[in-house]
């Protein structure tokens, strides 16, 4: 395996200099050119004083420049901290204060628009416009002298490569620290099970600043494949047009990506002869949606995958052949990762029992930046406690049954709201369903169900109760049923359970 992340690009540039690494609009950038630009920028960063381990804030959307910047910072020994190019001042200010970057890299207008936030930050010495390659030196100091004559490579694979900020619900941002080893081991494992080669071309609609998007970047550069960038998923047919024109072999999405494609695009009426596989991660997708996706793309392998940013990110995948046989399963651990299910004392549960999903492997993060307490809560003896509860079937295939914090305990029974929701979603006339636990004097918690009926369908509480008594055990029949036009969602499209527990008006 390649020892260094930036070597991924160097090795592919040596092997496939003329192959296209990235397509963006009309631009097609070969590996040799990408490597040249990354080397140039890397040397200028070192010359300007960037020292190993220093953070570089990257304010770029998906573009060839993002790749140039990513590999140049890693080559210089820096730590990439990608943030949304259109991040608001408040969010950006918090991240800057937390990770204290010494360099900021962005482009043109987007960079200038945020200059006051960045210019005021004490840590920032240099602001780089990657379009003009202008280096704006703000402050003296840093590693200017150290930079002179220093070789721009640090061979330590446990060195930090990336800090990814996750959208924590508390006010303070949480930066997941990923090392070079984390990224390399996970990329190699994904390339192995997806069987990626230099002939693969993936349509990228997911931002590189998220761990799923980042893994598309690392895996395809490792394989010598091609990244086809398209930032206009808001118009899904534009993406489908590009997938056909570019003859992409792969596509990656989160559940809402596929829900939009299946409901508001012409996916079902098109054919994609080159499309070898699609992958889904980034939250649980209902088995109904997975089946519809497979029906829409009968010739394409559908990989259901599971992971966390804290695992760089991949932990498990389901073999496409098992998709319809084991609906709802996230499959088994990927190569190089070990998964166990453990009880509240950290002891492995017996077969068939529900336990917390705990992972070990070279992909597990180094911790949360500046947050030893939060780190200690999830990293124990080198194991990542995911906070997700799972169970395994008799063949060892894993199923996520919910978040540890979301489990409902009613009358001594532990209930997974997600399993109930998947079943309820299959009830005729039901578009969406959510299940929460509400305080109950006798049971501890009672089950409350929220139903959003399909437009134009009338569903009565009695219908839901009958359906529940036919499909669930008696203790799962809800004590209360509320009908809503639509379920409240958080910004990332997930059902907002805390809003539901607050009992919004119907």
């Amino acid at each position: 395996m390649t020892a260094l992340v930036h070597d991924l690009l160097r090795v592919s540039a040596e092997r496939y200099p003329d192959r296209i690494a990235v397509v963006c609009g009309n631009r097609r950038v070969p590996y040799s050119r990408l490597q040249q630009r990354a080397t140039d920028l890397s040397e200028r960063l070192v010359a300007s004083g960037l020292a190993p381990g220093e953070r570089v804030l990257v304010l770029l959307e998906n573009s060839p420049e993002y790749l140039v910047t990513y590999f140049s910072v890693l080559r210089a020994g820096g730590v990439v901290v990608p943030v949304a190019h259109d991040a608001n001042e408040r969010g950006l200010g918090r991240i800057v204060a937390d990770c204290t970057p010494s360099v900021v890299i962005g482009r043109g207008e987007q960079l200038r628009a945020r200059e006051w936030t960045l210019g005021d930050a004490v840590s920032v010495r240099t602001i780089v416009d990657v379009d003009s390659m202008e280096f704006d030196r703000r402050r003296r100091g840093g590693g200017a002298l150290r930079g002179a004559g220093r070789r721009p490579v640090d061979a330590e694979t446990n060195q930090l490569a990336l800090i990814l900020y996750t959208s924590g619900t508390s006010g303070r941002p949480k930066g997941v620290m990923l090392t070079r080893r984390n990224l390399l081991s996970n990329a190699a494992s994904i390339v192995e099970y997806l069987k990626l080669t230099y002939e693969d071309r993936v349509m990228v609609v997911l931002p590189f600043r998220y761990s799923y998007g980042n893994s598309l970047l690392t895996t395809h550069v490792l394989a010598g494949g091609c990244l086809v960038l398209e930032n206009r998923f808001a118009f899904p047919n534009v993406v489908l047009d590009r997938m056909q024109e570019e003859e992409v072999t792969g596509f990656a999405g989160v559940p809402s990506t596929f829900a939009i494609l299946l409901n508001r695009s012409s996916l079902r009426t098109r054919v994609f002869p080159a499309l070898r596989y699609v992958t889904q991660a980034g939250g649980a997708m209902s088995p109904t949606l997975a089946r519809e996706l497979k029906e829409a793309l009968p010739e394409t392998d559908v990989f259901i995958m599971y992971g966390q940013t804290e695992a760089a990110p991949r932990l498990t995948y389901l073999e496409p052949a098992e998709l319809l046989r084991r609906p709802g399963s996230i499959g088994k651990a990927i190569p190089g990762v070990r998964i166990t299910l453990r009880d509240e004392e950290g002891i492995p549960v017996r077969p068939g029992e529900i336990g917390e999903i705990v992972a070990e492997g070279d992909n597990i993060m180094a911790g949360y930046w500046n947050s030893p307490q939060e780190t200690a809560a999830v990293l124990k003896n080198g194991c990542l406690y995911t906070g997700d509860l799972g169970r395994a079937d008799e063949d060892g295939f894993l199923y996520v049954v919910g978040r540890r914090s979301e489990m409902i305990k009613t009358g001594g029974h532990r209930i997974s709201p997600k399993e109930m929701e998947h079943t309820l979603a299959a009830m005729p006339g039901v578009a969406e369903a959510a299940v929460v636990g509400v305080p109950d004097a006798i049971l501890g918690q009672a089950i409350k169900v929220f139903i959003a009926p399909t437009v134009g369908k009338a569903v009565q509480a009695a219908d839901v109760l009958r359906f529940c008594s036919e499909n669930f055990e008696a203790f799962l029949v809800p004590k209360e049923i509320v009908f809503l036009d639509e379920l409240p969602k958080s910004a990332n499209g997930k059902v907002d359970r805390s809003a539901l527990k607050g009992d919004p008006p119907a």
Partner: protein, 85 residues
């Protein structure tokens, strides 16, 4: 109110939090970070409800929906077209 003003009001209230200073007729929504994929679907829902039209999946395209100007052109074509018998 004309369709242009109605759509502008909707966009400003829902996506620009009342700040209409930056929204010109030819401002590209996506390129300027004004809406994302769920935003486009909200816009489609608004157009369908307000103007009594059905936005076909194939019509969810930048040429029709990515600026106030494009939306007005789309509405004119849609509303001006003879209704199927």
């Amino acid at each position: 109110m004309k369709p242009l003003e109605m759509v502008r009001t909707f966009m400003v209230e829902n996506f620009l939090f009342g700040d209409d200073g930056t929204l010109r007729e030819d401002t590209q929504f996506l390129e300027n970070g004004i809406i994302d994929s769920t935003g486009v679907l909200e816009l489609v829902g608004y157009l369908e409800k307000t103007f009594g039209i059905r936005v076909e999946d194939g019509e969810i395209a930048p040429d029709n929906l990515n600026s106030l100007k494009n939306i007005c052109g789309y509405l004119e074509r849609k509303l001006g077209a003879p209704k199927p018998a």
